[in-house]
C-alpha cells in the first residue's frame, strides 16, 4: 500500500515538474495574483467577473498567438495593431454594403493579405522583420485614416455586433471562437510538420534550408498566420464597438509582445510554447481587470506591467 502511495505521489510530482518546466513560474504567479486580487476586492471572485476577464483576454490571445508565430521565427511584427484599425474600417464599410457576415469575414482576408505581404518581403529579400512590419504599420494606419477620412464609421447593421455579444450558455461567443482558434493553432504547431518548421526556422534557419525545407514559404505562412489571427481579433473587436475605428487596437501590438515575452517566447527564436503565451495573456488581462476593480490609475498599471515583464523574464531565465 505504501509502495503504491509513494509511486502515486511520484507520478504526481513528476507531472508537476513537467508542467513547471513547460509553462515556468508564470502559472503560479498567475494563481498568486488571482488570490491577491480576490483578497483585496472580493468582487474579483465572482463568476461574471471571471467571464469578463476571459472576454477581455480573447482579443489579446489571438493577436499574441499570431505574434508568437512570428517571434518563433526570430522575427517580430509591429504592424498587428495598425492592422486591426484597417481591418475594422474595411469591415465596417463592407458590412454596411453587404451585411454582417461579409463584414466578419473581410478582416481575415485583409489581415491575411497584409501578413502575406510582410512574409513575402521578409522571406524574399531577407530584410529584418522589424523594419518591414514598421513600414506596413505605417501603411495600414495611414490607409485606415484615408479610407475612413479620420472618422468613425457607424450605423452598422445591428446583427454585426452579435459576434461580440452573443453567449452560448454562460460563455461569450468571442471566448469560444478564441478557444477554438487556439486549439487549431495547437494542432498546427505541435502535430503538423509546419509547426516543427516554424520552431526550426527560429532555431537554426540555415540548417533547415540545407535540409531542403523552403524557409521562405515557412516565413510567408508564419506572417500570414499572424495576419489571419489578427483579422479574427479585429472582426470581434469591431463587433464589440459596433463601428469601424481607424485607431482601434493600436495598444494590442505592444501587449501581444508583452504576453509572448512574459509567456516565455524568446526573441532569439525557436523557444516558447502556446501554453505559456495563453498564461501570459491571462496574466495581463487579470492584472488589468483587477486593477480596475481596485481603482488603480492606468499610469501605475503601466509601471507595474513593465516591472512584472522584467521580473518574469529574469525568473524564467533562472528556471532555465
Amino acid at each position: 500500500m505504501q509502495k503504491a502511495a509513494v509511486s502515486g505521489s511520484g507520478v504526481f510530482a513528476g507531472g508537476l515538474k513537467r508542467f513547471y518546466k513547460s509553462v515556468g513560474m508564470l502559472f503560479f504567479v498567475l494563481v498568486a495574483l488571482i488570490a491577491l486580487m480576490g483578497v483585496i476586492n472580493p468582487q474579483f471572485f465572482t463568476f461574471i467577473n471571471g467571464v469578463t476577464v476571459l472576454r477581455q483576454a480573447c482579443f489579446l490571445a489571438l493577436v499574441a498567438a499570431g505574434q508568437m508565430l512570428v517571434i518563433l521565427t526570430a522575427g517580430v511584427d509591429v504592424s498587428l495593431g495598425a492592422m486591426i484599425g484597417l481591418c475594422s474600417v474595411i469591415a465596417a464599410m463592407v458590412s454596411k454594403q453587404f451585411g454582417a457576415v461579409a463584414g466578419w469575414i473581410t478582416p481575415l482576408l485583409v489581415g491575411g493579405g497584409i501578413g502575406l505581404l510582410n512574409g513575402f518581403v521578409v522571406g524574399r529579400f531577407k530584410i529584418d522583420s522589424f523594419a518591414v512590419t514598421l513600414g506596413t504599420m505605417g501603411i495600414s494606419g495611414g490607409l485606415a485614416l484615408i479610407i475612413s477620412k479620420g472618422l468613425t464609421i457607424y450605423n452598422l447593421p445591428l446583427s454585426y455586433q452579435s459576434l461580440a455579444y452573443i453567449n452560448l450558455g454562460p460563455v461569450p461567443l468571442p471566448v469560444l471562437i478564441a478557444a477554438a482558434v487556439l486549439v487549431v493553432m495547437y494542432f498546427v504547431l505541435y502535430r503538423l510538420r509546419f509547426g516543427r518548421y516554424v520552431y526550426a526556422v527560429g532555431g537554426n534557419r540555415e540548417a533547415l534550408r540545407l535540409a531542403g525545407v523552403n524557409v521562405r514559404r515557412v516565413m510567408l505562412w508564419a506572417f500570414a498566420g499572424a495576419g489571419i489571427l489578427t483579422g479574427i481579433a479585429a472582426a470581434m473587436l469591431s463587433a464589440r464597438i459596433n463601428s469601424g475605428q481607424p485607431n482601434l487596437g493600436k495598444s494590442l501590438m505592444m501587449e501581444s509582445i508583452a504576453a509572448c515575452v512574459v509567456g516565455g517566447v524568446t526573441f532569439k527564436g525557436g523557444v516558447g510554447n502556446l501554453g505559456g503565451v495563453v498564461i501570459g495573456v491571462l496574466f495581463l488581462s487579470t492584472l488589468s481587470n483587477g486593477f480596475d476593480l481596485i481603482g488603480v490609475s492606468s499610469f501605475v498599471k503601466e509601471v507595474v506591467v513593465g516591472a512584472i515583464i522584467i521580473v518574469a523574464v529574469v525568473l524564467d531565465k533562472y528556471k532555465k
Binding site: 477581455q56 468613425t152 464597438i241 463601428s243 480596475d292 481603482g295 516591472a307
Partner: protein, 362 residues
Amino acid sequence: MRSVRIPLLIVVLAALIAPAFVAAQAYNDDWQGIMAESIYPWGKRLWEPWERVVPKKPYRIGVSIPSLGSPYFVNQVYGYLTEAQATGVGVTILAAKGYEDLQGQVSQIENLINKKVDALAIAPISAEGIAAIVNVAIQKKIPVYFLGEAAHTKNLTGYASENDYDLGFRGMDWLCRNLKGRGKIAILAGPAGNTYTESINKGARAALKNYPDVKLADEKWGDSEDPAVGQELAENLLNATPDLNGFLVVEAQVHGVANTLKERKLTDKVACVAVYPFQETIPYVRDGSVDYGVTGYSLTNARILVNMIIRNLNGEPEVPRYVWTPGLDMTRESINTFPRFHVWAPEGWQPPSFMNVEPKKK
C-alpha cells in the same frame, strides 16, 4: 533563491499597488448657482441655477474617462473627486490609455459594471463605439450618463456637457470676423475618430460657410495634446501657404502653433484661435500669440453631473435629462476675470494613484 521567489514576487506586487492616495485640495464652492440650460425629458428648456444636493443613500458612481494625459480630463477628475467628497457619495474613476484606446475604455466600463456601481458617468472616446457596452449596463439597471457628446446613444439617463459644436462654431466665427471675412485659414483638428473633435469640426465648418471668402487652406488631424506636433504642423502649413491668415487649433497643439508664430514674428499677421485652451495657454493669450480661446465648464460639468446623478438616484420627479453649460471666451482683455474654477483644477494639482472616494455611510 527558489524558496523565496513566489513570496518575493507577492511582496513586490503588493508594494507596487499599495495606496498612494493624495487627498484632493479644498474645493471651490463658487461653482454653485451657475446658470445652465436644462432640458427636461418632456422637452421643457430652462436656464436655471444648479446647486449641490444631499444623497439619501451612500451611492457609488463609476466614472470612465479616456485619459489622464489630457488636462481636460484631469480637471474633470478634480471635479468628480471634490464633489463626491462634498456630497458624500462614492466615486471610482478609471482612465483608459488615451483616445486610441477605445477597447480599453470598453473593458473598463465592463469592469465598473461588475463592480455594481449605482450609476456610470462616462466621457466617451467614441459614443458609437461604446454604445453596445452602454446598453449592457442599462440592461443591468445601471443608469448611464455622459459627460460630453452623446449623439448616437439614445438610452442615456442624462448628460452634462459643453457644446463642442458650439465651441467649434464660435472659434471659427471669431477667427473669420477677425479676418474681416477674407483670407486663408488652417484647422488643426485634434485626434481623428473621436466624438468631440468631430463635433468641433462640424461646428467650425458650419461657421465657415457664413464667410465664403475665407478659404480653408488645409486641415490636419493628429495628437492634440502634443505642442511639438502643433509646432511642426504650423511650420509646414506656413511653408506650404505663406499667405495663411489664421489657425483654428484644438487643445495643447496651440502652444506649438503660437511658438511658431512668435519665432517667425507673425503674431500680428496670423491670428490664432484655441478651442479648449489649458492653463498653460494663459501666457500665450497674455502675450498675444493666441488671440482668442473658447472653452467649456469642464470642471463644473463634472460637479453638475454628480448632482444630476444624485437627484435621479434620490428619486426626484423632475430632473433635467440634458444640461448644456455655455462656452467661455478668453482674450487678452478678459483673461484676468476668466472664471478659472469652473474650468481648471488648482494649479499643480495632480490626480492620485487611486482615484477613489468612499461613500459616507448614513
